[in-house]
Amino acid sequence: MKQLHELAEDLYRCIRCGSCTAVCPVYSEVKREMGVARGRIRLVREHLDGNLDLSATMRNYLDLCLGCRACVVSCPPQVPTDRIVRAARAEYAVRQGQPLVRHLLLHNVLNKPERFSLALDSVKLVRSAGLNRLFPKMLEAKEDLLPELPEQTFREMLKGLKLKKGAEKVGFFLSCMDDNVFPQVIIKAINILEELGYEVVIPTDVVCCGAAHHNYGDLGNARQLARRNIRAFAGAGVEVILTDCASCGSTMQSYGELFVGEKEEGEAQDFSRGVMDLNVFLQDKLVAGSQPLGVTVTYHDPCHAVRYQNIKEEPRKVLAAVGVKLEEMAEADRCCGGGGTFNIFHYQLSMKILNRKIENVRKTGASILATSCPACRIQLAHGLKRHGQTLKVVHPVELLAEFYGKGE
């Protein structure tokens, strides 16, 4: 990954035209210049020019970036604001470390699968004991971000699962979120892949993809995690590594960049090239059936799919194969405000951004909201609940499974 000073050339290309103000989800709520690419870039530029220290205020402003890349795609000179913000955060991390809560999250929770499960288990415990009602109002709302947790994680389920042999092997990356929160998505993905004749290989010694570490500039841990995931797939004998999580997908596709100039570079690049979103893999392998599901679905494009991986038509093709009626919402590719952990650290602002998304969803009249990233899914479900909406949120592959009669 490029360091901040290496991005100076990109940074100077900002012509301050303000086009980003028209598309930035944060700006449209805060309406202040430090809440948009133009301001963030200027702050970093003043820092590189020696006019501004890496101040706490600047750090707060940079933290208000979702990394959604809406600004980048509409920026005339295509200034990579998301990269600049990440590189600046990395610089802060090196010089000042991480703020305490974030440190705990990055080092102690997200780093180890068992810790992540443990953290979620404690959520379960708190809930079952009714302790959450004792939380102050704000905290309660945040705790509410997490949906009902399943009885078993996927890792636990896997022990009782018999994976089929097949002519061709594909790898499947076990994301923390799906493992712990949405194991049914993985089960259904496996069903579909097996139905299509593939043998699914799921290494269980994988760890968090490192998206949050990447995002908050904790590059040491990001590399550590990347190495372990690369190693986990080393002996699997697969060329393609599928994922049903847009954030994991785009993060793992950038492993190559994490090791530029280092001895692992080649291996990391090979790994990154193999990573593929499940929708992309499935889109041309499906045959439309004769009995369409009689439901109306609308689709939310995760930032990490549509603007990091250029995935737009593929999930729609999957939905078309299912035979649902797709009712496009306005601004389908506008960020939901989840931003990985943005919704935890900036709850109020995140909810404002989410309100607009939910309103767009509501206007479609759909009964199902599909999306391909568990982080968006959690955020969207939270928003629907806040607004008393009853839509179900699913991954396209779940509808597909239902269609193939592989639902529960």
């Binding site: 012509i15 301050r16 035209c17 086009s19 028209a22 003043e46 005339p76 295509q78």
Partner: protein, 463 residues
């Protein structure tokens, strides 16, 4: 800000959270798209006209300059607080107060985003034509303050033609109300025209009454390709002589097309000298005939190729290419000087020739776009603000370009305004009497010279 007591009075006036004084905040309000920049001492974000009044009174009493700011998209340096003081950020004025379909007008607050307003009125079958190409981000207050215009200007005019009235807070804090919902109004001096385009130097717009017209039924788009620019200019004149007034006559020269093709390939004829994007709008029955007729006129005048869009998708494709021009230029150089010299239409070929000669003489790259209908040319100088020697050449070229435009009976600025960058040329165009009259108006309204000082008019010392 040095003056702590002023800061605390401002906080009382607009609320603590709406007065920004941290260095990081000030940096974020120190720039606009030009290379100019200067830190304000505070950013004040008022929420209603009373708050603006209080801020102006406080600032005037303290002798502190005030620079109004909409979206900060002007390309003349006019929203930069060059003398420090306060930046008055107007984005909280974001309400569309009324769309009056019976009287074909609307009342809006000054901070409403242009495109948002347009889509609201278009949903009602109405039309607000002024279309500065920054309309997705610019504010209506900024548009009125700069008298912004755009491609549709040739047929529909510019912002000024749609301002029926406004509310403004004067530098001393008094509220001025001008005009109203009537199209006809000859009560006294025409203050509307005076204040439109005043670039924040005479007061702060808070509310605007804007004229609307019915939305045209349909439109058609074509691209005419030419091997020489004279033929292009002749065609434009011939189209107008044939009594057709297109909405849009957008000129692109060869260099501009090459840049577009390099960054966003869209099938433009890069071996031709120029292409003109032409659009007509109006009733569904007339428009198809007009576009054919324009095609014939252009062919007769020597167009090498005519591409008439048959479907909406084809029309979008032509527009996408034109719209990619700016981003292609932005991708090819870190600094752009977007000029907007304007000459009588008949002088366009001569102006184009002058610009290319200047580009060669000063060894700079200057692709040209332009609204050929009204002679408004956009030579865009591609450069790098970090290279002082090159910027020196750029400035010399701009000097000569303005001289040439004025000699042809043209003007310094068709739509972007004077701001900071063109102040020194004001007397070239207006003469001493012209500048003097303007200065007296300014002094009458702003005797302490605190309202966006340093813009539009040269200070006496600068002459």
């Amino acid at each position: 800000m040095q003056d702590r007591s002023l800061v605390s009075s401002l906080q009382t006036a607009v609320g603590r959270e709406n007065v920004l004084t941290k260095k990081e905040d000030l940096i974020c309000y120190s720039y606009d798209p030009t290379p100019n920049h200067h830190l304000p001492e505070a950013v004040v974000i008022p929420g209603n006209i009373d708050e603006v009044t209080q801020v102006m009174r406080l600032a005037y009493a303290a002798g502190v300059p005030v620079t109004p700011r909409g979206a900060g998209t002007n390309i003349s340096g006019s929203s930069i607080p060059v003398q420090g003081g306060l930046v008055l950020a107007m984005h909280r004025f974001d309400r569309i107060i009324e769309i009056d379909t019976a009287n074909l007008c609307a009342v809006v607050e000054a901070g409403v985003i242009t495109a948002e307003f347009q889509s609201r009125v278009e949903a009602l079958g109405l039309f607000y034509p002024p279309d500065p190409q920054a309309l997705n981000m610019s504010t209506l207050g900024g548009n009125v303050a700069t008298n912004a215009g755009g491609p549709r200007g040739f047929k529909y005019g510019v912002t000024r033609d749609y301002v029926l009235g406004f509310k403004m807070v004067l530098p001393d804090g008094r509220v001025l109300k001008v005009g109203g919902k009537t199209v006809k109004n000859v009560t006294g001096y025409d203050l509307t025209k005076l204040f439109v385009g005043s670039e924040g130097t005479l007061g702060v717009f808070t509310e605007l009454t804007l004229r609307l017209i019915p939305l045209p039924e349909s439109k058609r788009t074509m691209l005419a390709v030419f091997d020489d620019i004279l033929a292009a200019a002749r065609s434009v004149s011939a189209v107008i002589a044939a009594k057709i007034i297109p909405t849009t006559l957008e000129y692109m020269d060869q260099e501009a097309m090459r840049l577009i093709e390099a960054f966003a390939p869209s099938g433009l004829p890069v071996d031709s000298a120029a292409a003109v994007l032409i659009e007509v709008d109006g009733s569904e029955r007339v428009v198809p005939f007009q576009i054919e007729q324009i095609g014939e006129v252009c062919r007769r005048e020597g167009a090498r190729e005519i591409r008439i869009a048959l479907t909406e998708a084809e029309a979008n494709q032509i527009w996408t290419a034109r719209k990619a021009a700016f981003s292609s230029m932005a991708r090819s150089a870190p600094t752009l000087y977007v000029e907007d010299v304007t000459v009588p239409r008949s002088k366009i070929p001569e102006m184009v020739k002058t610009i290319s000669e200047l580009a060669a003489k000063y060894q700079i790259k200057v692709p040209i776009l332009g609204h050929t209908g009204d002679g408004n040319m956009h030579p865009i100088i591609l450069t790098d603000e970090r290279k002082p020697e090159e910027i020196g050449r750029v400035k010399q070229a701009i000097d000569e370009m303005f001289k040439a435009a004025l000699a042809m009976g043209g003007t310094l600025s068709g739509e972007h305004g004077i701001g900071l960058d063109k102040v020194k040329y004001m007397e070239w165009e207006l003469g001493t009497t012209g500048v003097d009259v303007m200065r007296r108006i300014k002094q009458a309204l702003d005797p302490r010279n605190l309202m966006n000082p340093g813009k539009v008019l040269p200070t006496e010392a600068e002459e």
